[in-house]
Symmetry: C2
Subunit: 321 residues, 2 copies
Amino acid sequence: MSRRAEQVDDLVARARDGESRAVARLVSMVEDGSPQLRQVMAALTPHAGHAHVVGVTGSPGVGKSTTTSALVTELRKAGKRVGVLAVDPSSPFSGGALLGDRIRMQDHATDPGVFIRSMASRGHLGGLSWTTPQALRVLDAAGCDVVVVETVGVGQSEVEIAGTADTTVVLMAPGLGDGIQAAKAGILEIGDVYAVNKADRDGAEQVRRELRSAIALADRPEGAWKPPIVLTVAQEGRGVDELVSELDRHRTWLEEHGELVRRRTCRAREEIEAIAVAALRERWEGGIDVHDGLDALAEAVVAGVKDPYAAADELVASATD
Amino acid sequence: MSRRAEQVDDLVARARDGESRAVARLVSMVEDGSPQLRQVMAALTPHAGHAHVVGVTGSPGVGKSTTTSALVTELRKAGKRVGVLAVDPSSPFSGGALLGDRIRMQDHATDPGVFIRSMASRGHLGGLSWTTPQALRVLDAAGCDVVVVETVGVGQSEVEIAGTADTTVVLMAPGLGDGIQAAKAGILEIGDVYAVNKADRDGAEQVRRELRSAIALADRPEGAWKPPIVLTVAQEGRGVDELVSELDRHRTWLEEHGELVRRRTCRAREEIEAIAVAALRERWEGGIDVHDGLDALAEAVVAGVKDPYAAADELVASATD
């Protein structure tokens, strides 16, 4: 076994023992697309599947990181090991944008039962469909009971992140015009649990009422999970115990209805496809297995002598020889 | 020939005659991922390649749509046919977010020499790397001399859009803290032409100075294009004639240095790859050609008996049988 392979095995063993520097190193390898990821994932996969993955999403200003921090506090009270993954799909840069979150997370920074990592997409398209499940696998195999995935940023990414969680918490707050935004962003289709945060402010009750009607109106098959609504004041930790109970109740429901495996299978499909596509792209761009060469195909399209679909057919055919 | 195929041929013929309803219909087909796109693109490809594709990007508030509108006015004065494609990569919804732009574009709405279309990514990942070049091909084949691609939204998408243009204009403005943002967003690597808009405001000269030093400091190979900086007040049309001259000068430079074909080849590569990947995904997700089935592979990963890389290998191998 090479020195490098040994180092990876050692890192994996230390991460499984819950050593936080080893965990951090492995998440960085995921983020950087390290060539040793194949070995890392092969070593971790048999040890994953324990953690409850909770996605936290919502519009800016709704209190995502405050709620995440309050969730961590509550889960730690119950003796749970907790991972936090702050994901910024809109930024190719980790760091800057997440500074605020890190500061809010400071309370937990020295707690050995908490792993906190922020992660950016580093500009590779479709990168998150790949890196998020892999980073989750690291935290999961490191013994976390719950991993909270917090989406930083806005827009469709929220919906994408929802696909990666076992349980998605959608946060709302009074005074943000969330009623309209909710409908617009399709956010009513992704929440398993809703929390109306900043519930001590005017209008919280109205947000709850609107949400409740919207949930009641939604088409839902018989026996489907009916998303509960929790009122929270995350800043003071109020309502967070109830939020945790609802998360537990949802996880139990998922297990009892075969949904947990179904959701995780979806996540794994995305990950496998993303890895496969990346492998094919690498072959195509490296000119391997392509008779005519991707560049030659592209030049033919630019010259107007071949249409892009015909070129794509040739590319696919070259991969299926 | 089927009725449907005839209709497409008719639509393509009318679009090539510059009939704006036919152009709009074809762009909608691109946006919707119509099954007839293959036929549309095959018919259009031989007639594309004339239009100069100009990307306009910059932070929110910098005046992108005002500048686009002023560019259209200036280009129309010179008798050019102009297409405008307003692309919103961050939103799966067309319409709403672009309303403001449409209003500003109202001046040109009745001009038969101008085609204006907004386009959203409709939530499909990697969708823009595919739909943008195809919509460009429609406007190009419809006889546009210049097509302006305006990015709505922020973040890494700006950098992606830059890859699709022949010439990328990066807009800046005083008072937006653009100095730091420019460095952060890697925007200094993508501009072929810089415009400091709102140049009648305090601080414009300083933005220009900072930009100029940054450009001077950048590593640039011998004989490379040196991005000029233009001061504009797009609202009043000031400086826009100079901006148009710089765009023309850049296009000439691109042609003389073989760069035009190179950039367009990059764009075609992205498009071909995106079509090929979509075709493979469809096969995988439909269970065609996959021995073990993508679902079975994903279930094995969730069960911890197969790692995602091994599963991806099987998927790729199934495509290469």
